[in-house]
Homo-oligomer: 232 residues x 2
């Protein structure tokens, strides 16, 4: 069934101009057709098109499920954007599908990309949330310098994944389920030794994501799935 995102649907009963256009002109939906709507805050609505209009489509809400498939754990991934933006966009889509609450693009010492297009990334988050029926819309933060990011983190459990052969715990073993977690993933050139030291000084634990070398975006998806399995 077609899914729309509308944060204020309960109050306005109206789709946004963008969603209305998509509904009326692209999908050519008509009065009476059933749709699903997510508000991005956890509620999944079943609704009917009341008035199909390319600027202001009106809906009639039939039913609502609050906290739809709410996960019982919080996950924040901070990750250096890849040089190839497609790869980073793949990661975002997969992270949303599997389960993530927050993504922060990180500007690290060896980052190969210093600029990301927020609007584009937000579109991908919305699209993936709709496609995978996530009623809670994950948040994507602006790209943040490592040094600034490190000191503003508040999660219970904070991990930094890297490839140096220093003492590390497997993420799956050390993360405690049902609690908030933040996992930081570096660029293709890894974090710098100084960044790792800084993180550990701030209370981050160094982790591995399994044997072998993973591309940045693969490491990101592995981290998201690892935490998902841990919290099964």
């Amino acid at each position: 069934m077609t899914i729309f995102l509308s944060p204020d649907i309960l109050e306005t009963k109206t789709l946004s101009p963008e969603e209305s256009f998509h509904c009326a002109k692209v999908l050519r939906m008509r009065q009476g057709e059933e749709v699903q709507i997510i508000d991005g805050k956890g509620t999944l609505f079943n609704a009917k098109i009341a008035v199909s209009n390319s600027k202001k489509t009106l809906v009639e809400i039939i039913s609502a499920i609050e906290n739809f498939e709410k996960r019982d754990y919080f996950l924040h991934i901070a990750i250096a954007p890849t040089k190839n933006i497609d790869r980073f966009e793949w990661f975002i889509e997969k992270a949303v599908e599997i389960g993530v609450d927050c993504i922060t693009p990180l500007n690290c010492r060896f980052s190969e990309r210093k600029v990301v297009k927020m609007e584009r990334l937000e579109k991908i988050v919305v699209s993936a949330a709709k496609q995978s029926l996530k009623a809670f819309l994950p948040k994507i933060n602006p790209i943040t310098d490592f040094a600034d990011f490190i000191v503003q983190t508040t999660e219970n459990q904070r991990f930094i994944a890297h490839c140096y052969p220093t003492p590390k715990f497997p993420l799956f073993e050390i993360c405690i389920p049902k609690k908030g977690a933040l996992v930081m993933i570096g660029a293709e050139g890894d974090f710098s030794e100084q960044e790792i030291q800084t993180a550990e000084n701030q209370g981050f634990k160094s982790v591995s994501l399994g044997a072998g070398r993973l591309r940045t975006e693969t490491a990101g998806v592995v981290a998201v799935n690892t935490i998902s399995i841990l919290n099964r």
Copy 2:
């Protein structure tokens, strides 16, 4: 360090014409430079360029590690190719990075793609194996009809992942580590009920890959990573 694939390097001490061209003309490597070579059968060689030649580059082998990072479990993924071939190629790359032995593209009832370009997929496997230092080259089989595939499977443990609300086990719980496993993943429209029945009649166990709807290629990566974590 630059990595080449050469199945017969120990006998010939020579890179293939393709790898030789890449070495001499693209990378412009010179005599004395160190390289790594995988033979696809588990051995990782350290070597030096002896003669840089665009058709027949000669190397001097310095050292070899057999069974380099050999995984202690066998994994075969049979998966319906996605309509969008980028997504399928993405899955193959990630599966190789994380750890897979064999991939079979499956032609199912609701498959959206009936034809795949083997040469292209093999290139992706080789590229991903080199990039992630996999000395064992995963095998990619030709696209196979579901009915034919089902009866020729030989793995110890065989699973079919689907979205129907029938009795299913979480893959992570039911798969026994350190043993061979086959996981089948259907198209966007899932397997047909008949395909699932056929599989179960053949001894396959129905599994889930977590809550929520995953795209085919995401399900593939989730399955590969789930088995990887299980076998940690």
